[in-house]
């Protein structure tokens, strides 16, 4: 039974929000993911993931300052909630359990020349 639902991209976003700590808002998250994972992230995909995560209660947001380069629009900063932290830990531990259950021999792959 699934206790916590966290998709792959959602997990990436959660982790990045964690990395950025107090500086996590739309653009910074996007850039961080793009930098660390070298994958393209569209604003749309990111925003809908953030909205989902907030609805699930994994993230909470607060309104930040509005600056000149944003044409006066405020930033929205995200932080991980306690519930979100649990979800991340749960995902991590299930993954670890699974890793541990793999017999050593299964991973000793040889590249055939």
């Amino acid at each position: 039974m699934k206790k916590y639902q966290l998709g792959e991209f959602e997990e990436v976003v959660m982790l990045t929000v964690g990395i950025l700590y107090n500086e996590a808002y739309g653009i910074s998250i996007k850039k961080e993911i793009e930098k660390r994972l070298s994958r393209k992230v569209s604003v749309g995909a990111l925003q809908s993931a953030l909205k989902r995560l907030e609805e699930k209660g994994y993230l909470k947001s607060r309104e930040g300052e509005s600056t000149q380069e944003r044409a006066g629009r405020p930033k929205r900063y995200f932080t991980i909630t306690a519930y979100g932290k649990k979800a991340m830990e749960y995902t991590r531990s299930t993954r670890n359990t699974l890793w541990d259950a793999i017999p050593r021999i299964a991973l000793e792959l040889k590249t055939v020349g």
Partner: protein, 892 residues
């Protein structure tokens, strides 16, 4: 310039703002802008723009898009009740404007409703046949024909039913039945068709008496309609009775006259069609079994067309498609048949057969040789177009007046917005107001229709079209839907425009909104007047053309000539009886009445030459004809009196002399001519002065004509009456007729009336167009009235102050009128050349045109000016006369 360069594509930004969930909008927009600026620095404008667009499009996803319904929809009903209440109050408060709006819309709507009624009535034709979805009429077409013909070659049905499985049933109606049925000395005139036994298997007519399956099988049997059965047999049972039928070749279409009377023998009545008002494109009083035709072939009373594939003018073919076949199968069968019969069709270039669905006949495409007259679809499209123009004009009025009143509504809008109304709420409010107005207009339009219906059904042309324009529930539902649509259409612009008002400005009542844009309203008003001017010019022009045809110089004297159809009687007897009537100058006989629409032709060349045959018009008259109509003989002498050789002589006209290559009429006399139809040669006995024997609308100039004395084809006598007691003489003529023919009613028409009635159709067009022009100008003037009234009202104070300072009445009136006078001037400036040019387009195609100079345009400009000035003047003068004390004292 630099600032705009810095911002992302506006349209996409606006799109984003529109769809984005309000809670997310600011943050995401901030992100987007930040990103955009950054990209602008690194990759340049083009790339940044593209990436921005890309981002916005990718943001368009369910989780970002705002919820469809605003969350505050709990008291919709109360709100709508409020809209309704405010709407009613507004309508009552501004009575003049409401009246102008309601009346204008109602007038235009009634016109549209009339057309809906017409179309609905047309659609109800031929709906009573059980197999109506599978019945097709076969049309035949030749190269260079203007429209396909409803008639088909006689052998077609047999070929279809025997060789093609797509055809389940086929029936053929053949024209040519029209004459007198006699029973016990009672004579009734009937028109109808030869029909075969499968008639009742194809069509849904029910028989009140008789057996459907056999009624039309046996030779010399006939089925008549209930009305005619009553006329002929009274209350007796008609089935099994024998009637004598004398055919007079009465045409099926119209109420024209036939030719010689031929007794066809006796017929047994085998059925009576149920007394139901069948609405069908077919109309008949009698159906004669087509097996009777064989007897008539044998006695040479009917042309035998059984193997004639080329003559396709007399029979109608209707097929029932087999249940599992499609229209394409039928078309394929027809194509195949045409290909197989190409030898029989030798010389008929481009001969084509096609199928037309029975329910698509009325209303349908233009088809020649129709069994009944009816307006083709084109006419409805044209009427729709006119109605749409008027309707749009009325909607523009509403738009114009509503936006003009923006100022008076601004406070209300401001308050509503301040108390939390969304723009969409206001849009709904204004729309509900306009829909309310449209529904009121619907009520008025329905009343107008009651008056317009008799006007339309009373049009001359309606005796052929038989509109009776009764509404039914679906039609009324269409009306209501139409009214709703019109309300939306008229209200959408004001709703969007008025709801845009910003509450702060509106409540502060800034002067800025007063001197608002007149631009759009001016354009609308100008276009209304341009349209009106165009309609007025066209109506006047068509009326002039009508007068021109009426006063046309035919070259003969139709005055005091009465044309009397012979109705099958011997012309000698009739002529002798009439000649004795005092007051009759002379009596002549002819086969047709020239210049009233019927024309016969033949081809002629000089005998013994190999010249090409020339096309001639031909009249069959006796020797009194030329004298009677005052046609002078230029050379030679008149036709000889009737004897065995009289048929060998002809009179020709001056145009014929020219056509045959002579210059002097005298050279022509004595020439022997070879008629193209074969038969004996004709000797020219005299040359007459040219006169018009075709209708002026049928072509310019006068063509060659031959007149021959051929008594067997006479069907009219032409009685010239001395000036004096015309009606008394006609009564005498009637008495004389009764002595010769006690059976048929005396029919007569004055020749000059007949010539005029050819153009009755023109008069109908003038009536309709004149009416539409009237509506268009009324609506345009109403709009102008509304605008001037409003302008005068808003400038009341200004007028008061000016007057106190010493301005004169006229000066003020001019001041107030200036804008509107400009509108009129621009409309005339655009409309006059436009209506001149467009009307010239169709006029150039017409033979014997009336002069269309600037006079006509000038007259219509004068009409427009007079009405426009009256409208403007009535309001501005009133405003300028107002007492300044009262105006300035009141606190507006």
């Amino acid at each position: 310039m630099k600032r705009t360069d810095q911002s992302p594509p506006r349209s996409f930004l606006r799109f984003f703002r529109w769809f984005c969930h309000p809670e997310l909008r600011n943050y995401i927009e901030g992100d987007l802008v930040e990103l955009y600026r950054e990209r602008l620095m690194t990759s340049g404008k083009r790339k940044a723009d593209w990436q921005f667009v890309f981002d916005v499009v990718l943001l368009f996803r369910p989780s970002i898009i705002r919820p469809m319904q605003p969350s505050h929809s709990f008291n919709q009903f109360t709100m709508f009740r409020n809209y309704f209440k405010v709407g009613v109050r507004n309508i009552l408060k501004y009575k003049v404007f409401s009246f102008i709006n309601v009346f204008g819309l109602a007038v235009a709507m009634s016109l549209c409703m009339l057309i809906v009624l017409m179309l609905a009535e047309q659609k109800s034709y031929d709906q009573f046949h059980e197999k109506k979805e599978r019945i097709y009429r076969i049309l035949s077409d030749r190269e260079h024909s203007k429209a396909p013909s409803a008639t088909t070659p006689f052998p077609l049905p047999m070929a279809l039913i025997t060789n093609y499985p797509a055809v389940e049933e086929v029936t053929q109606l053949t024209r040519g039945v029209g004459g007198d049925a006699t029973y016990n000395q009672r004579v009734v005139q009937m028109r109808g068709y030869f029909a075969d036994a499968s008639f009742f298997r194809v069509f849904g007519y029910a028989l009140a008496k008789g057996n459907k399956n056999v009624a039309l099988s046996a030779p010399n049997s006939m089925v008549i309609t209930a009305a005619y059965a009553r006329q002929l047999f009274g209350d007796d049972d008609p089935v099994g009775k024998t009637v004598d039928f004398t055919n007079r070749g009465l045409p099926n279409v119209g109420d024209g006259e036939g030719g010689e009377a031929t007794p066809w023998g006796s017929f047994t009545v085998t059925g009576v069609i149920a007394d139901v008002p069948y609405k069908s494109h077919l109309k008949f009083d009698v159906l004669v079994s087509s097996s009777s035709m064989k007897v008539l072939y044998d006695s040479k009373k009917l042309a035998d067309l059984r193997d004639d594939w080329k003559f396709n003018y007399s029979s109608y073919t209707y097929v029932v498609l087999a249940a599992n076949k499609s229209a394409e199968d039928l078309e394929a069968a027809l194509t195949d048949l045409t290909w197989r019969k190409k030898e029989n069709l030798d010389g008929l270039k481009g001969f084509k057969l096609s199928a037309q669905k029975l329910t698509g006949i009325t209303p349908g495409i233009l088809v020649s040789n129709e069994p009944t007259q009816r307006l083709p679809m084109m006419v409805y499209y044209f009427l729709w177009f006119l109605a749409a123009v008027v309707m749009i004009s009325a909607c523009l009025n509403y738009t114009n007046l509503s936006t003009a009143r923006a100022l008076s509504r601004a406070k209300e809008i401001g308050v509503r917005k301040v108390t939390g109304a969304y723009r969409s709420n206001l849009v709904y409010q204004f729309l509900s107001e306009s829909v309310l107005t449209a529904l009121l207009a619907l009520v008025l339009a329905t009343l107008l229709i009651v008056f317009m219906r008799p006007a339309v059904t009373g049009l001359w042309i309606n005796q052929y079209l038989n509109f009776d324009l009764q509404g039914n529930v679906p039609v009324y539902l269409v009306f209501v839907a139409f009214a709703l649509f019109v309300g939306m259409l008229a209200g959408i612009y004001p709703a969007l425009h008025l709801s845009k008002a910003q509450p702060v400005k509106a409540l502060k009542n800034s002067e800025g909104s007063r001197s608002g844009k007149m631009g759009l309203r001016k354009v609308l008003s100008v276009s209304q007047f341009v349209i009106s001017l165009f309609f007025i010019t066209t109506a006047i022009l068509i009326y002039n053309q009508f007068r021109h045809y009426l006063e046309f110089e035919y070259g003969f004297s139709a005055e005091n000539v009465v044309n009397i159809p012979l109705q099958g009687n011997d012309h000698h007897k009739v002529a002798n009886a009439f000649a004795m009537v005092p007051g009759v100058v002379d009596v002549s006989a002819s086969d047709i009445v020239p210049s009233t629409g019927t024309e016969n032709g033949m081809s002629i060349r000089i005998a013994g030459t190999e010249d090409e045959y020339k096309k001639f018009g031909v009249l069959q008259t006796d020797e009194h004809f030329t004298g009677n109509l005052g046609i002078s003989i230029v050379a030679g002498e008149n036709l000889p009196a009737e004897d065995t050789a009289a048929g060998d002589f002809i009179l020709v006209n001056e145009a014929a002399v020219k056509a045959l290559g002579y210059t002097n009429p005298n050279e022509m006399v004595g020439q022997v001519l070879d008629p193209g139809w074969g038969g004996s040669t004709l000797r020219v006995i005299g040359v007459i002065k040219d006169f018009r024997f075709t209708t002026p609308a049928n072509g310019d100039g006068i063509g060659p004509l031959a007149i021959r004395n051929n008594p067997s084809s006479f069907s009219f006598v032409n009685v010239k009456i001395a000036q004096g007691d015309l009606s008394g003489t006609v009564q005498q003529l009637e008495k004389a007729w009764k002595r010769v023919d006690p059976v048929h009613a005396f029919k007569y028409e004055f020749y000059d009336d007949q010539l005029a009635s050819v153009y009755r159709g023109f008069l109908d067009v003038v009536t309709i167009l004149g009416f539409i022009a009237f509506l268009a100008i009324v609506i345009a003037c109403l709009g102008l009235l509304g605008m001037t009234t409003y302008a005068a009202e808003t400038r009341k104070k200004e007028v008061g102050i000016r007057k106190v300072l010493g301005a004169g009445d006229l000066g003020i009136a001019l001041l107030l009128s200036r804008t509107f006078l400009k509108i009129l001037a621009i409309a005339i400036f655009i409309g006059a050349p436009l209506s001149y040019a467009v009307n010239n387009l169709w006029l150039q195609k017409l033979p014997n045109r009336v002069d269309f100079g600037f006079g006509t345009v000038f007259v219509s400009v004068l009409i427009l000016l007079a009405l426009g000035l009256l409208t403007i003047g009535s309001q501005t003068l009133r405003a300028s006369r107002s007492n300044p004390v009262k105006v300035l004292k009141s606190d507006g």
